[in-house]
Symmetry: C2
Subunit: 263 residues, 2 copies
């Protein structure tokens, strides 16, 4: 069996393009940044870019294509964003209409692709520091919640911040603040620690996205701004067409995670 963990991003993208890989990308090309995708038409591009600029903790852009270009040249020089993600979702007027493995048929001349960093990047150094990550231990998706924290509005785009949650010991929580502060380009430090009610989460056992995880005796929930925020916000504005990656099926970039660390 091929070892996807040590394979290069370029080789993996070739396999994805050839539809030899059509599922989740977690664990592939270890050490390389994976990114969320949101494609919008030109009419919304400035406002959405401005929204990301104003909400950097929720919307850490790792690349944005030029209008009409399907190559995220900064993080994947040979890549084609229309074919190099295992699975895409098509939304029309904010409604999910289709899941496909190739979006060549949907691509338009005035589209812009936004590649948004994800928490995979800071989970690796957390694990390396010996901090257990519950949803990895329990082999499920990270729990995500809508909060009462409003994002900064930009044009038609507005909505609440979505957060991801990782329970940990108080000692690990302090260390996790230090480690993730080194990555301001991919969510950065937590936005909240402790009482979920303070950020408008009424039931920690019922996440809005992803799966619930065990919070053990003596553990504290630690919340980070989540890359689902911009997708959720864009969807709410009901653009005529919007294309995203399917959950877990990310873009594997040439960017090394360590490049995103400021210290």
């Amino acid at each position: 069996m091929l070892n996807f963990e040590t394979m290069s991003p370029n080789d993996l993208r070739a396999k994805i393009r050839a539809r030899e890989i059509t599922g989740p990308t977690a664990g592939m090309a270890k050490g390389y940044t994976q990114a969320n995708l949101a494609i919008l038409k030109k009419e919304h591009a400035f406002d959405f870019l401005l929204f990301c600029q104003r909400n950097p903790k929720s919307c850490p852009l790792v690349d944005v294509t030029e209008i009409g270009s399907y190559t995220p040249s900064l993080i994947g020089n040979e890549a084609d964003i229309r074919t190099d993600i295992p699975k895409y979702r098509i939304y029309k007027d904010g409604v999910f209409t289709d899941e496909v493995t190739d979006i060549k048929g949907y691509w338009e001349e005035d589209m812009v692709a936004f590649l948004i960093g994800c928490s995979f990047t800071f989970e690796t150094p957390l694990l390396e520091a010996g901090i257990p990550i519950r949803h990895i231990e329990e082999e499920c998706n990270v729990p995500m919640y809508k909060t009462n924290i409003a994002c900064e509005k930009a044009g038609v785009f507005e909505g609440p911040m979505v957060v991801s949650m990782r329970p940990m010991s108080h000692k690990d929580a302090i260390r996790a603040v230090q480690i993730t502060s080194r990555f301001p380009g991919v969510h950065g430090a937590p936005i909240h620690i402790g009482d979920p009610a303070q950020i408008g989460i009424s039931d920690i056992e019922k996440p809005d996205f992803g799966d619930a995880v065990t919070i053990k005796e003596g553990e504290i929930p630690v919340f980070w701004a989540c890359g689902v925020t911009p997708q959720a916000v864009a969807m709410q504005s009901k653009p005529s067409i919007m294309i995203t990656h399917a959950p877990g099926c990310m873009f594997i970039s040439d960017l090394k995670d360590e490049k995103l660390s400021v210290l």
Copy 2:
């Protein structure tokens, strides 16, 4: 005499609006972020925002107005960007045509104002750490140089990175790397230390902008990406109209410098 150093940003902006202050803003509203200005028309706004996004060390955006809005709402809720800067420069087709204290007559419905962070923000913590800053000691402008480092292109915008230089002892240089790394949102860590030729600077005594400063025996030049870069790059593309602040006459924002620190 009024003490501008301890006056609030809002009060200072009122005085600037009333033309009671028409000169440089250095040292005013200590602890609050001052910003460079670049105003462009909508046709260039997406590309310029993308240019800043792709070159965050040179172009640290602290706010961008919505199309047609003259209020940088994130950093100056009551501000009017058309009147709240002491002096503006007007460029037509890339040529400097006028210097004015008010741009109401130049403002158009499709203009976008880009507020770009400046090195004042990280110079305060350097001084507080006991690191002398030569151009402040010598009461002149920081020396700035064009380099052979190409910025990441975005649409019509491309050009070399401009850097500012501060000479210091080797010990201070190490500490300065640590301190400025805490401010990834305002230029961050240096981009080069030592031999100027390596980044294409042929004569350190002849800066392209600002003033030359003394480099003492045993000191090493330390280079940071400079906020002049985006203005220089935008100018090169010769937009029909572009408005900037006049040198040293900055926008005084409500944002505390410490807000821009990640640690």
